[in-house]
Amino acid sequence: MAWFRKKKELEKEMGKREHVSLSQGQMIWRAFRKHRLGNIGMVIVLILVVSAVFAEFVAPYSYADQYNSYSFSPPSKLHSRSDDGFSLRPFVYKTTRQFDRVTYTPTFVVDTSTKYYIRLFVRGAEYKMLGLFKTNVHLFGARSADGDEAMIFLLGADGYGRDLFTRTMIGGRISLAVGPLVILIIFPIAIVLGGISGYYGGGIDMFLQRFGEVFMAIPGLPILLVMGAALSGFGFPATIVFMGIIAALAIVSWAGMARIIRGQFLAIRQMDFVAAAKAAGSSDIRIILRHITPNITSYLIVAATLTIPGMMLTEAALSFLGYGIHEPMTSWGQLLNAATNISGIEEHPWLLIPGIFIVVAVLAFNFLGDALRDAVDPFTII
């Protein structure tokens, strides 16, 4: 999908290549740099990963802190204009919840007397940066001129008065970690089993393929729901459930990956360098791991990048239905679990915002994977 490659650029590139010889990695990188959507995808993925790693710093509060008097507070409005003119530094006003005397519906009354400016690197709740050292510096917060603090809910608050922005940042950690963790489990299995299957062929291939087919015949989402229900029924702590979900996703998806890798091995085992390695007396396992696997590395990276979005979507769906990630842990899908009924969404539409993060992240991974695929293999059109 070299859509964005202009003809002239291509010619220039061709001209260059006569003089400079590039390594395979450099060529792939060059081809990748030309893919505009892929680059945007990469930048977005990087931003999301960095903000997930430094989530406690980026987020103004602790993700479990409940500010009960701010239950269902709508997103704070950032102002830059007031009666005394324009302010370059945006500010928020303090809000207090009041109940309607007749209907008892809560409304948030804005108090415009004091301006609370958005300040960077303010001190707040204590946390452990990267799990290493304690600090209480947060990226931003709202403070008045005399240091008084006001709550700032960039994306609003949930029913317990917890800041949705903070929870989205922390939840991104889980959502982003699920895909890579599953891949970490299924790739070794898929490479070894797919490799043996494709390299030896014959009876063992037959057996492994039939074995894999059993797993492929199990309908993915329904069985994951059953596994999730089994996991949550035991009342395990959230971290165990999280690991269980990862294992469940791996069980459901390894067979498909093994079959793809088998196909690659089938194609490569015919090549001369494999025959040469055999002639030189390499053992079979050495040929599989040291000769053939490096040759499909770029392919594996692409496959990994394109597997991540699927895993993210599945985890999100599971958590949304209540059979995935559990409180006190949170993920983007789990946050949407609060937005299940329509009357709730109608009154608190900001509860839907974590879903936008899912869409953006999945889209970014798809673009990234797509661009990588084109860069690795310029001959495929799809």
Binding site: A230, A316, L363, T380
Partner: protein
């Protein structure tokens, strides 16, 4: 296929056994179930026996009597709980109409995309295809509901969202009004389930047609002065569409699991929803029945894909 189904059933059965909090304790709390029926069921399914005995009792009922067990919630047979009340019919209707619409829209768009390769319209189509692929079904369904209810205030016009009919039409005889009401309720399902499958189809059609267009016989057709329309639709598209036929079968199971979440959010009366309710109630035999049904759907889909592919492409031979 049958051995596969049996293996799947053993795995699923084992999984459900692992699930804590069994139906027996639930059934004991239910005053409508007498101790006598409880004992009967205990004996019939060997509920106090170890796993393999239970599995064998359940399995024997299926092969000898075609009995998939009884639902502990409804105290009716499993197939009734899963399929009756038109659930099966609605599942098939929703799946097939969604598929039909996806194909009717994606194929022309794919052809357009391929014939306008690298043009802005091609890029736009691909972008929206990817967007459809990246939006989680449940989130899209929620957003559609929110837009309808909060932005367009459809409630003010006496229109409901979710389900397949407004309350006043449930149980009413078929009429034009009821049909329009059905259409009003079903289009969000089409939109949500359809968009996720659209992108793949569009991209495959585009890629396949681009491959075909670069073949020599297309060049020959152009060289002999054929109209470009004839070249594309009579020569290229006919061949380019062949590999896609296998996607027809492959997309069947995808439709079912894709519509699972959608059916739950949009409250559609389908088999998937019945399965989810059974899961919430820990209704073992209904869950088992559902899993087997979905597996069967998957296997039939794959078989259909193979058969269709061999049918449209005589070069492919099996066995």
């Amino acid at each position: 296929m049958l051995p596969l189904l049996i293996l799947v059933s053993i795995i699923s059965f084992g999984l459900i056994q692992v699930m804590p909090g069994d139906y027996l304790t639930r059934a004991k709390m239910n005053p409508q179930i007498t101790q006598k029926t409880l004992n009967q069921m205990m004996a019939r399914y060997g509920l106090d026996k170890p796993f393999h005995v239970q599995y064998w009792l359940w399995f024997k009922q299926i092969i000898t009597k075609g009995d998939f067990g009884t639902s502990f919630e409804t105290m009716r047979p499993v197939y009734w709980t899963l399929f009756m009340g038109d659930r099966f019919m609605w599942t098939i209707i929703i799946a097939s109409t969604t598929m039909l619409l996806t194909w009717l829209i994606a194929i022309p768009l794919g052809i357009y995309s391929a014939t306008h390769q690298y043009k802005p319209s091609d890029h736009t189509l691909t972008f929206f295809g990817f967007l459809g692929l990246s939006v989680p079904n449940f989130f899209f369904a929620l957003v559609v509901l929110w837009v309808l209810v909060a932005i367009f205030k459809v409630g003010n016009y006496g229109l409901g969202v979710g389900g397949l009919f407004d309350n006043r039409f449930i149980g009413a005889p078929w009429s034009t009004a009821k049909f329009w009401n059905l259409l009003w309720h079903i289009w969000p399902a089409w939109l949500v389930i359809g968009t996720s499958g659209m992108a793949g189809l569009l991209r495959y059609m585009r890629g396949s047609l681009l491959d075909t267009l670069s073949l020599q016989y297309v060049q020959t057709a152009r060289a002999k002065g054929l109209n470009e329309r004839v070249v594309i639709y009579k020569h290229a598209v006919r061949n380019a569409i062949n590999p896609l036929v296998s996607m027809l079968g492959m997309s069947l199971p995808g439709l079912v699991s894709g519509s699972l979440v959608t059916a739950i959010v949009l409250n559609l009366p389908t088999v998937e929803r019945a399965f989810f309710s059974a899961l919430q109630a820990q209704d073992t035999y209904v869950i088992m029945g559902g899993l087997l049904f979905f597996s069967l759907f998957l296997l039939v889909g794959n078989l259909l894909a193979d058969i269709l592919l061999a049918w449209v492409d005589p070069r492919i031979r099996y066995g």
